[in-house]
Symmetry: D2
Subunit: 369 residues, 4 copies
């Protein structure tokens, strides 16, 4: 990973600030011949777009994507695909008063320290807006995966908002697309709506936990050491703004377990090995097992709140910060499509790496007679 | 990160299997002129070495490091440094019976599926033994850091073993080097010793949580998007064998917090900005704040246990696996020096990246008049 | 170098086809605080722009560059800079008849073989038009170099067109900007104009040799093995469309020399070592000496000519190809600003690499007392 | 390419100095299951080994390679392969008197300037000895190619030594292995032997030109812009010590040609397209055509000569340098196996890149009905 590029072979470079003329992604290394139209990407962007419900920022951005290169007559040509999204609703005045103020919890102060200057309008590169470019790039990965491994499915959803967790007994995947929280638990969706209304009224915000699952991942993706599939997934998720922790399978709970609880027992299924549990989250020794790949990550609460917080100005003098503007009370909500996008990119990248090294899109070592 | 290389500018490639002739690390991009002798690296290797107490594997490896290149008259020359450790205590017979068996929780099955063949002696690249190469490479990073940022300190320790957590009220850094668990809580050290004896007697193993803290890190290291300091730290830790989750600062708990609880308030200190808390774990927008950089990761319990577990043979037929050999009942213990090594490498790498882009080893934007 | 990215730290990714909606460059890793305005880049693009004289293609492209990110109030912010140039004069009809024809000397056939499909309008990525993006990116590198090493100068010029070489005795740098060939020899400019008119009338084209020289390059840039300064310069030049050979200093002639003729003798000058000759082209062991860095490369003649050439159609049947459209009779002419751009990028990149490793922008080892 | 690593997917990192304890190569990303034994690599090393004839340095190095990892029971496992060669005949005393002297034409002065210190014994990383590691790594690439594309052949040979060129009319590939110059012209071999004896007697040295040809390369390898097959080949060759120029196909001569002379006409052969000439050197638009891939590079004369040359000491005072020791009078001779090794690595790397992106080892677009 370079400053603004991730991926080994399917390489995505995002660019652009929240309040500049445009933002986008340069996608290099896509397989040729993948059917791709702007509307497929647009559909994914619309899911992430602000203003979809009262629970997200009221900034109105059409987020219309333009494909500037790399696609001819509805198919990828194998050359770089440039995706551009113009910024429309920039209202820089909302940010006018913060040019010399460091907002607590924001990157204002570290940008200033690192670069000696910054674009004070919005969060610059650290704005959640940057993730639109990831979702767009992920849309390409998704179409490429569809053509290479048709049975692969990637699904993200929220499992926690502040202290509120889903009830796994009520888990219903069909619910995910039915509520503004992408939560697979209808009751939680109702409760969270009320809780979030209260938080917004209080001028506050709240954190969240996202889970993202890929089924139909062939065994054999990844590598044992620094290109472990879990390493690249962790990096991909941790690179999302506001993410503070990532885990695979049993994750942080693995610290609590004994070896006999943790090691998933293996048996032979009809079409290959099967596991009696999935503490591993579908990855052993950095390589996919063929089970569901399961990860979770925590998104911190939005730092832009109207509750006053102590801070300093650039000259060092003390101040109190109230961040107005139009902000997400729970930015984790909009992280769901971002998680799916990043996972799509990582899995495609690892499919290509595996194919490079072995010639196959899945296992080359047979099991069973 | 390539398959077996990590780092942007300070690049470490580890190589070697647990039961081959040797293992080691190729370290490229080290600053020239750093005072370096084998004994400094040896000292760190000795900390990680098995057999230091009854709580780690009784495999006896001298882990003697040889510097084969890149150092002349006690100074690094700026060219690649090759570190080699010969394997001595290989006892392949311990592994003779597992050539066709897939041990649950191990990478046996995924190696077979990915590569079509594997070295069945020990865990190959996925053995904890690979981490000796990381510790050796980290020793070079540590010496380079010492010359560039003398006040920087990196300290790892255990904070949890299975269900047993440290009591933060008893936190005493001086304890860390006094007990075989590197735990900063003398009482915990005693209790854990008993608990681990029992686990070993039961033919079982247990997971652990490691915390690693860097103080004296200059503000300004990192970058906003894919080379976020937290991204690279997460990737570095997740790349360690058996790690299942990584978090920075408040970490997974950030999902529980409100914005007013989470955003660390800022005030002006004598020599720069100061924060009233450290939920951020020393990183905002992917860039270090100058506070302590704090991370934690979970290590799963060793899968090599003598409790029988159901599995299959290569031909798909069922079997029961009991893994004898000499294994760590809590492999997390030996992950402590590995964490320090990886953090050293990442911080040095980011110091160099920051210096490349800005010319400085710390902040270039001033705060205060 | 990835498919469409070059550079280690100052990383340029170009994108776009000659006949798509736009093309451009994503520039990542630029130092922050560099004064930069679109007009500086525009000035360089105008030099490369087609239609500047009767000796280049009459395609009319305004080549207007738009900076979409990474610059705030006239200074680079340290985040990715997106440069976009809209294609205007696309006249796809010129290319309508070649969708199934493989033009000799073009990449039509290899694109088809590699990707299974191609955008048949123009040369796609292999069009000389792609180099506009390089020139734009090089403009950023040039401004950054100006702020870091003010005395550094990069100058490209033609030294040969077909069989016509310049007379080194008449070499006058002031002439370079005075004629459409960027040739430092006024007489050659006149002669070449006549020769090229004839070639165009004959429906033919001609090759060229470009020389590019950087003066004021500090000693110490580069590295001994795979990141040799000459390696990266060679790769940068060879990556330009139609380039078939690259040489440094004495270059291919070095094969003819004896050791005593070749090794540049050293003496002490007033402000450091001085060399009595420059067979090395300013690079020893992959590292700059402080002398002028001198390279040359050969550009093949444009393959788009109206002289009929035998070829085949996609179905394998024979055909004869006459390429109409508006083409450069000597595409090497427009390679001059491209060479300067690429050299700017490589030198900035190596300055940053050197600064990362040593902390300096030039030599750290002193010579003389 | 990083400082000491080259390759995208088949990544080779060489390490070690000419007079340190050992040198070698870390090879990462090799396909698994490739039959590999040390003796295959040893055979190639023996070809490059000094002291094979009176025309190369009389330094006696057994150059015995040890495989330390990544191979199990005669097959590559897909994990990193460490190749180590111990230095035996180090005779540091030969170099004792040059610790403070900068030898003209050598990297002594630039190492000192870049790193502030250097290992004065031999040429360090810039010694021709480093190329032993390349030959060893290339041996692995060669075996992998053999299993993937059995018909691919790579052959290097000398075509010029100083002013002496081969007579293409006498070109006989069978001669290459019969003489110490690897020259495909028996008469030239005789003449050059006499000429080189004289040069050695004169205390001088001489440059050379190497040609390297790959036949059986599938069409479709490479990419249009920065990962052009010719770019990577040029970089690979230019990275070899003492190389000053590289060309593909018509190469530097392309500057002399007209478009009608240069563009290779295409016709349909029995099993695919055929070309009436090969000015392109087997590469169009950065992508292989299926023709022979042809490159040439110039090697400068050895700078270590006994003819006195003016230079300076570290304190700036003037001196005269006579380099004794045991040196090659024409280091180009031993560059032949190095060229083959580098070409093997690049072609394997590009086969893997192409397979990653398209799933095939050759063209995916059909020609002919």
């Amino acid at each position: 990973m370079s400053y603004n590029t991730f991926g080994h072979l399917f390489r995505v470079t995002t660019w652009g600030e929240s309040h500049g003329p445009a933002l986008g992604a340069t996608v290099d290394g896509c397989p040729p011949g993948v059917a791709l139209e702007a509307r497929q990407i647009q559909h994914l962007l619309d899911r992430r777009k602000p203003g979809q419900s009262r629970h997200t920022t009221q900034r109105r951005e059409p987020d219309e994507v333009e494909i500037l290169s790399g696609v001819h007559e509805g198919r990828t040509t194998g050359t770089p695909i440039q995706l551009m999204i113009r910024n429309m609703d920039q209202r820089s005045k909302d940010y006018g008063n913060i040019a010399d103020t460091f907002r607590p919890g924001h990157a204002d102060i570290t940008y200033h320290q690192k670069y000696g200057l910054r674009d004070p309008r919005g969060g610059g590169r650290s704005s959640a807006r940057e993730t639109a470019a990831r979702v767009a790039a992920g849309g390409i990965a998704r179409e490429a995966l569809k053509s290479l491994v048709p049975d692969l499915r990637i699904t993200g959803y929220m499992v926690q908002m502040g202290p509120h967790r889903i009830d796994r007994a009520r888990f219903d995947p069909a619910e995910i697309e039915r509520n503004p929280f992408w939560v697979p638990d209808a009751r939680a969706a109702e409760d969270w709506a009320k809780a979030l209304d209260q938080i917004r009224k209080d001028g506050n915000s709240v954190g969240a936990m996202i889970e993202c699952v890929a089924s139909g991942v062939p065994a054999g993706l990844g590598a044992p050491i620094y290109a472990k599939l879990d390493t690249d997934l962790a990096a991909a998720m941790m690179s999302i703004n506001a993410v503070k922790g990532v885990e695979i399978g049993a994750g942080m709970q693995a610290a609590m377990l004994t070896g006999s609880e943790n090691a998933d027992e293996i048996e032979m299924g009809e079409d290959g090995p099967r596991y009696r549990s999935n503490k591993a989250g579908g990855i052993l020794g950095g390589i996919s097992t063929g089970q569901e790949v399961v990860l979770r990550f925590a998104v911190k609460p939005t730092s832009s709140i109207t509750t006053p917080r102590a801070s300093i100005l650039r000259d060092g003098s003390p101040t109190e910060v109230i961040t107005k503007g139009r902000h997400d009370p729970c930015v984790g909500i909009r992280a769901v499509p971002v998680a799916e996008a990043m996972m799509s990119c990582v899995l495609l990248d690892h499919l290509m790496l595996h194919r490079a090294q072995t010639g196959a899109l899945g296992p080359i070592g047979q099991i069973g007679s």
